[in-house]
Symmetry: C2
Subunit: 558 residues, 2 copies
């Protein structure tokens, strides 16, 4: 039997008009700003009108450390959402938007996969509703205003060697990583070094995803640090009076986007900050709107639970006052085997011993999540070759850790395959068992916050930070930024900072290369390793094959 590709399945979707999807959540057509017939933004008026309603149950989907075998986090998020609807619960899904640029390098990502997908897939991988373009515009305006300020006399005394606001473009363009700008003489300004990041790495993106409303957005934008003076005092976005115009550029982008699953259930797809230098979650405004309109909200966080879930809890939940009622930790038998030391081309063979060995990674994530006081359900995202004994081995292991592991077949069967998972998740969420607590209080010093994450989540022995880093953290504390959470940027492939250390490594330490203050987003970025904020294209970018075919369909993007 030949499997259908994700795009083939997506194209067969029988989409409902988006107004009917809105109606499922009680959002009237007058409060839906349509973008075509299958996408809409939710009006601010509606969001304001539901502020005092009771809040639904919040379910976070996270995963073990990624392996080339794949986990299917988004697929499980979608499948669980459909599963909850199938058992009669009013559930909505919240995921991130896709970045445009990377689709032209490697083949683009679907939103989910198999029979657990969100549509319209092409749009979501292209311009969608223009949110990322608006972020690029707002970011670019501020950049232009900084150099324009310097050009016209530099009244703010900006040290042009210390402009920290770079430029962005939503394209994989390595030639722009490092440039010298303002060349060409008197008319073009003062030459200086700068560079471009990809749009999702913009602090504007992180802010859009954390802001509670447009007023909060404008305030946070104003608080961004764009440069320093010779005396090292910061120059803020508000000093350039750019935050008002940036907010105008972002006013539509702030409204959550509503789309649907293959099974016509509501999905909010909104925002997409990097999961390393930012917190990697969809927007607070989408999540809170979903929680006011649905009884269950299924959302996900970037990378594995050591990065994604930790930031979801310590940054997003802290800032937005959210409390997860249940966490779903996604694993696959194949990924367990890879964690158990099996090579990618030998994953098809049954190997219970390798599965058992690989469970250490899963187990540590369960323990970490329990440390937040939240109940955990392991979802075994089913692949056709999974052996019964292998599945049983994982289930036994997870039971021993005080959680359940449930096989889910949403990829092949849609909601029907996710009913067991949905039932268990709903039961736990309804039970009120969650006793969510932050890992650290606001008052803890920045260095101690870093140490807390490193020791309690990564299970490292130690944090290595030289005097320059420690002094910088202390300076920010003196300037009033000590209450901020930390945003860890490290490899997603290991609990440690070494991507090759699979399983549940111990005896390692966490070296800090650099710290950055995202004063508008409201966190201190702690960089532990090489972090790339502008990807390049491969030798043969997928763009070479992407085209419209005779039927007007996009080919080569997926």
């Amino acid at each position: 039997m030949a499997f259908k590709s994700d795009i083939e399945i997506a194209r067969e979707a029988r989409k409902l008009p988006i107004v009917e999807i809105g109606a499922k959540l009680g959002i009237g057509s007058e409060d839906l700003l349509p973008y075509g017939h299958d996408k809409a933004k939710v009006s601010q008026r509606f969001i304001d009108s539901v502020r005092d309603r009771p809040t639904g149950k919040l379910i976070l989907v996270t995963a073990i450390n990624p392996t080339p075998a794949g986990e299917g986090k988004t697929t499980t998020t979608v499948g669980l959402g459909d599963g909850l609807n199938a058992i009669g619960k009013r559930a909505a899904i919240c995921i991130r938007e896709a970045s445009l640029g990377p689709n032209f390098g490697m083949k683009g990502g679907a939103a989910g996969g198999g029979y657990a997908q969100i549509v319209p897939m092409e749009d979501m991988n292209l311009h969608f509703t223009g949110d990322f373009h608006a972020i690029t515009s707002a970011h670019s305006l501020l950049a232009a205003m900084i150099d324009n300020h310097i050009y016209w006399g530099n009244g703010l005394d900006i040290d042009i060697r210390r402009v920290v606001w770079r430029r962005v473009v939503d394209m994989n363009d390595r030639a722009l990583r490092q440039v010298t700008a303002s060349l060409g003489g008197v008319a073009n300004g003062f030459p200086r070094e700068t560079g471009f990041d990809i749009t999702v790495a913009s602090e504007v993106m992180a802010i859009l995803c954390l802001a509670t409303d447009l007023t909060d957005l404008e305030r946070r934008l104003g608080n961004m640090i764009v440069a320093y003076r010779r005396d090292q005092s910061p120059v803020f976005c508000r000093d350039l009076q750019a935050q008002g115009a940036m907010t105008v550029l972002l006013k539509d982008a702030m409204q959550p986007n509503l789309v649907q699953t293959l099974e016509n259930n509501p999905a909010f797809v909104h925002g997409g900050p990097f999961a390393n230098i930012a917190h990697g979650c969809n927007s607070v405004i989408a999540t809170t709107t979903a929680l006011k309109t649905a009884d269950y909200v299924v959302t996900e966080a970037g990378f594995g639970a050591d990065l994604g879930a930790e930031k979801f809890m310590n940054i997003k939940c802290r800032k937005a006052g959210l409390k997860p009622d249940c966490v779903v930790l996604v694993a696959t038998i194949r990924a367990m085997k890879m964690n158990g030391g099996i090579a990618k081309d030998a994953l098809a063979e049954e190997n219970v011993a390798a599965v058992k060995k690989g469970c250490s990674n899963l187990g540590r994530h369960i323990d970490n999540l329990h440390g937040f006081g939240v109940p955990v359900v392991v979802a075994i995202n089913h692949f056709s070759g999974d052996g019964e004994a292998e599945v049983a081995a994982v289930q036994d292991y997870v039971t021993g850790r005080g959680a359940d592991a449930i096989v889910s077949r949403h990829w092949a069967d849609g909601s029907e395959g996710a009913i067991d998972l949905a039932r268990r998740v709903a039961e736990i969420a309804d039970s009120g068992a969650s006793q969510f607590a932050q890992l650290y209080p606001d008052e803890m010093s920045l260095m101690d916050k870093i140490r807390t994450v490193a020791t309690r989540i990564y299970h490292a022995d130690d944090v290595l930070a030289d005097k320059r880093i420690r002094d910088q953290l202390r300076q920010w504390q003196d300037q009033g930024y000590g209450h901020l959470p930390v945003c860890m940027a490290k490899t997603q492939y290991s609990f440690s900072t070494d991507p090759n250390l699979r399983g549940a490594p111990t005896g390692h330490s966490v070296p800090i290369r650099e710290v950055r203050l995202s004063a508008g987003a409201g966190f201190v970025v702690v960089i532990c390793g090489e972090i790339m904020t502008m990807p390049g294209l491969p030798r043969h970018p997928s763009a070479e094959k992407i085209r419209l075919n005779e039927a007007g369909e996009v080919e080569g993007l997926f």
Copy 2:
């Protein structure tokens, strides 16, 4: 009496749902892709379905050479469209989209003014339906693919000193005019000089506005020259296989946008190429779609008639097989006085002698337009201080040139003020009097085409071009580009290349600084003077005042 501002009038508009506007043109709701409730794109299916219908009458609105007193070309376009509808004709308007970046420098432009405007005004001055963002993305993808090709071995032997494809951003950012890119060592590529233009200056924009459909778009994109080799042979976009992916990025942007006037008449707002290095008209696809759905289509061209109308005739009409049935030449009494030597602060005083003296500019434009075989109506765009004797002087003058001059009060009175103009224009368009003919045949040499425009339109004695320029033109002819029309880039303020020469100068010559081949758009750009393709921001950019007020309205943009 206090006049209302354009934005106040626009905010009081009683807009109809866009599906009702579409219905006026026989476009069903299933063929309208909505962007909110007041904007929509027209489906390709609909455009294909009307291809064999009879074509409506095409009316071009152009103007005398601009002066600081203003002419009101767009306002007259809108007023005439509303006027035609008011006298029972089915008329549609076609204008260009606004560029985002410049709105943050100086206050943004309305689409029309007074009671002759197109709405929604805020959206049209912000992201609108995302067309320009799509153009920026497509342009940026090609730029990234060029440097990526060089990075991975440069199999096409591109001379990195001769990459002519620059980058674009829709922002006024002088710091990006000239940059050195690919710095930072081996991982980032081969350092080279380049720079950014504003998005509307992209050849992709010109192509989008000239392409007849997506197939034609892809072909033209492939034909763009992006670089040269050491032997000076061109490297095309298609050599990099970028045109397919660029077309995918542009597939929605190619569909015309439908909005409405204050009086709920249909307006297509689509495309916006520069009027100097490009042809400065709205898209061919919008104009032809309008001509298949309305009996009268009123459109405009950039700058004065010497640039805008000439390019409309010689580039847009030639490429798209269009024939204007009537040309409306807009003038104001105030601009006549300025052309007659009166300073801006003395325009309020009646001065018939100055008006008469200033008519020379108007007269030459009438003669030029008659040279294309098209009937001309002069629209005197009425200002409250205009003296009766002044108006009569213009009317007498125009009658002597074989045309009519009709006072139009659309700014103050909407369609009611434009009824006389509308009646006369409809009469002429219906009469079949137009005997449209191109100014030069395809077969004429490039140098002779330039000479023809310079002598017959600018009334210059001569064209000055050094050997380098003449050799370049000859080389392009040898390469098969000799059949292309020329796209003149010179000052808009004078028939000559000296912006201070008002009226109808003679005895001047046209020096050519540079020629550029836009092989995808299909014209040779002839640069006669300083042409700025990346504007800067002023000392106090309007962005500093732009914000959302408590009512959620945009302040400071207008």
